[in-house]
């Protein structure tokens, strides 16, 4: 006690109390969805209330602990519902988006970072402004271009084109920030050795930028994995849904299949949550670095 007051540290008890309250707030919804998923039913409620419920019955109904454990929701969402197919669609679209978006962004970001050319400043500014375009303004034209002109409605390729290009501005800003920190001397030395521009890019710059590229790729992947409005607009065949559109399908409109939704949510979230927790340290530095420069 004496040591604490000496260093000006507050007592730990109240701090723990605040942290526990906030932790409950954050994990309760997650426990709730796990509980619904494992209940084996399609019900929204954790427990059925008796006609004249007492306090204990009511307490039971808010405890995130299912009445019966059952993996039936997971089994039937994968077997009876086309959810496995939707997950596969999402995986393909997200992987292809990442590949397309990051490769285009890498070369553009390298040019913006290394070369001085007319149109460089306006170009970067334009990329920044494009982040402010409201999705509702571009959605109808995108539909016209992709579905009516290119004939790519309900096609994963069309979705990849849209996601890949819309992810470019953000990726370019992130990557350019990182390329700027790579010392130019390395490239100049390689140039003295007679390496070609392409070789310098592939052999020196790209390996050095691997951490930044990994983060940018994660961002592209997560954006595509979680996007739902554009996919819902372009994909009108149930077979071609992505996972987000499919999940909404379970509980949107007149459907109330909360058990399927909960099981599906967990299947969709677990990979991104793990990836996120693994890489979150870099996410923050990337975001704020871009922000400070912007």
């Amino acid at each position: 006690m004496a040591k604490r007051s000496l260093t000006g540290e507050p007592p730990h008890g109240p701090l723990h109390a605040i942290l526990i309250v906030m932790t409950l707030y954050t994990i309760y919804p997650i426990l709730w969805v796990i509980c619904i998923a494992l209940s084996g039913r399609q019900n929204l409620a954790i427990a059925e209330l008796p006609p004249d419920p007492g306090v204990l019955d009511r307490l039971r109904a808010v405890m995130p602990w299912p009445q019966h454990f059952s993996a039936a929701n997971f089994a039937s969402v994968l077997r009876d519902q086309p959810f496995a197919r939707w997950m596969l669609n999402s995986a393909i679209v997200s992987a292809a988006t990442t590949l397309l978006g990051v490769s285009l962004a890498c070369s553009a970001a390298y040019a913006f970072s290394r070369f001085k050319f007319p149109g460089r400043q306006p170009g970067m500014l334009l990329l920044l402004v494009s982040q402010m375009f409201p999705g509702t303004l571009t959605l109808i034209p995108l539909y016209i271009i992709i579905v009516q002109w290119l004939g790519l409605g309900s096609s994963m390729f069309g979705l990849v084109l849209v996601y890949g290009t819309t992810s470019i501005p953000f990726s370019v800003w992130m990557l350019k920030g990182y390329f700027d920190t790579i010392p130019k001397e390395l490239e100049e030395a390689a140039m003295m050795e007679g390496a070609s521009a392409g070789k310098i890019f592939w052999r020196i710059v790209m390996p050095l930028a691997t951490p930044a590229i990994a983060i940018t790729a994660l961002f592209s992947f997560m954006t595509a994995w979680n996007e739902f409005i554009i996919a819902a607009t372009l994909m009108d065949k149930e077979f071609k849904y992505t996972a987000p559109v499919g999940l909404r399908f379970f509980v949107g409109g007149f459907q109330q299949q909360w058990g399927y939704f909960a099981a599906g949510s967990i299947l969709v979230s677990v990979p991104v949550v793990l990836l996120f927790l693994y890489l979150q340290k870099y996410l923050v530095s990337g975001l704020t670095a871009g922000g400070v420069k912007g």
Binding site: W32, Y110, G135, T165, F276, Q280
Partner: protein, 648 residues
Amino acid sequence: MKAASHRIRFLAGVVLGTAVGLSLSWALLRATRRDLVSERKRREAIISVQALADLVQRVGFPSTRVGQVVPAWQAQKPPGTFARIVAFAGAQLVASTDPADRGARETPRRLSREEKPLYDQGQRIRAAVETNREEASARKPEIEIDGLAAGALALAAPLQSGGAVSGLVAAQFPGTGHAHGGNAGLAALLLAGAIAVFAVFAWAAGERRLLLAAGATVCLAGALLIHANAAVRTVREELRAADEAVAAYATAQGGQAGEVLASLQVPVDPPLAPASWDTDEFRRPRRLIGEDGHPDEVGLAGRVARASFEATRALFGVAAVSLLLLLVAGFGGFSRAGRELVEHRQAYLYITPAMIGLLVLVFFPFFYGITLSFTDSNLYNTNRSIGETWIGLRNYGDVLGDFGFIQRAQGGGFVINYLNFYWTLLFTILWTVSNVSFGVVVGLALALILNTRDLALRPVYRVLLILPWAVPNYITSLIWKGMFHQQFGVVNQFLGIFGISPIAWFGKVGTSFFTAFATNGWLSFPFMMVVSLGALQSIPAELYEAARVDGATRWQQFKAITLPSLRPALVPAIIISVVWTFNMFNVVYLVTAGEPGGSTEILITQAYKFAFERYRYGYAAAYSTVIFLILLVYGVFQNRVSKATEAA
């Protein structure tokens, strides 16, 4: 490298500008004349089909005499013309002059299986006629026209008996083959003339840039004006000629129909009205043929005026483009741009793939959307061109000029019009400010707590508190939507423990706002927490120790050390999160869905609903453009502010 002389550059500019301008004008003229020819053909085809439909209806449909009418109708038409009459009752092909319908396929007979498209077309037209009648509108075409190979046309029109559509006339007309070109000779002559005149002028004027520019502009404008003048005259003459030809055609059709009816001894009552056969595809009369069988002068004058207006508008566009080319070339823009392109070719090579993608799928849709915002585009006119639905700034006037968001109710109280832009704007600002404040306060507080040294279980708390950020936000939204369910939602069950009866969360503005607020608060504070925590950990401990030695209180330490060190990280994070929250589509769309009555929409979800639930595309585009402008102003403003804070 020695710069080329001004005279040479402007001569090149005149050549380029005039050539481009004249080719564009020539192409436009050619397209207009083509349109005229094809319009005339379509009008004649429609008159012809309507005449046949009229005949068939007069002789009685379906009756055996229909079989005599069709060959008689076809008698004076060019070879390649034929028609088929379908009765829906029994799916009968009543009559046909199609060469394929001979021998075993002689009419009348049942439609065969492979002729189902013909039957379907009839049903489609019947549905179209009924829809248009119910809506008292002209939305679905009642006469279907398809272009076939070699300029041939296939038409299908409804047959009516007693008001109901009971059959179909399907006819084919051969292509006439030749289409007019533009006046290429005149254009070439004008180009040569402009170049020659400018060459002489440049020789006299010497190396004076402004004088050369003025002379070049005059030469260009002269050539374009002469060409445009000739073009307008041509179009006017051809319009008149086309109208006269169509009127004559209608009269001839009327005469022929009269003969057919006379030969079949069918009384002509009411009298035949050939002018009424000249309709558009919604069977609305065009009123371009007078009672006397000659073009209606008022209608023709209107068409001529419209054509002249369009020609003038096109001329301005063409002139602007070519003048721009001329001046850019004349002042050396192209040679500079070319030099730079070559010099920096490597950089441009690297950015080109990304830029092409961005142009096609980001910037083009953006400008297309802005263009849409000046039109009256909606679900019912998507097939019209932008020029036809152009309404200028009216959408913006409707969005921004409507201040009546509080209206007096009939009972005397006040009601708020939740669809009004300013209500939604107010709500969005309230939403953004409250959410960002919550995120900053809670995130910062938690970061300060987690930054306490020797606190037990720190990493565990940290990971658990960060979880909401990792969960996809559409899933978060749907989870909270379920938890706020009135009957089964866990929130109401929790309140039940304290004896509070279930609340209809989405029934009132305040509680509905709270649901979205709780959801967004849940998913947004971890970001602020992590950002603050990162910044806090980078503050050297010696600073605090030095402050303590000087006897500073905790509050003084916080104000003098902690806050200033947090600012570089927190300011950009707040800027970003304002934009995110302002456009937090998923939470509002999925949690409150605007309930009750659109009161809890934010701007972006409201724009979405105008586009995809009320199908007012133009209005929604204007709405979205306003959102973009708000964000742009915010961005510029923030940029100033953050630069100022960095400098301070």
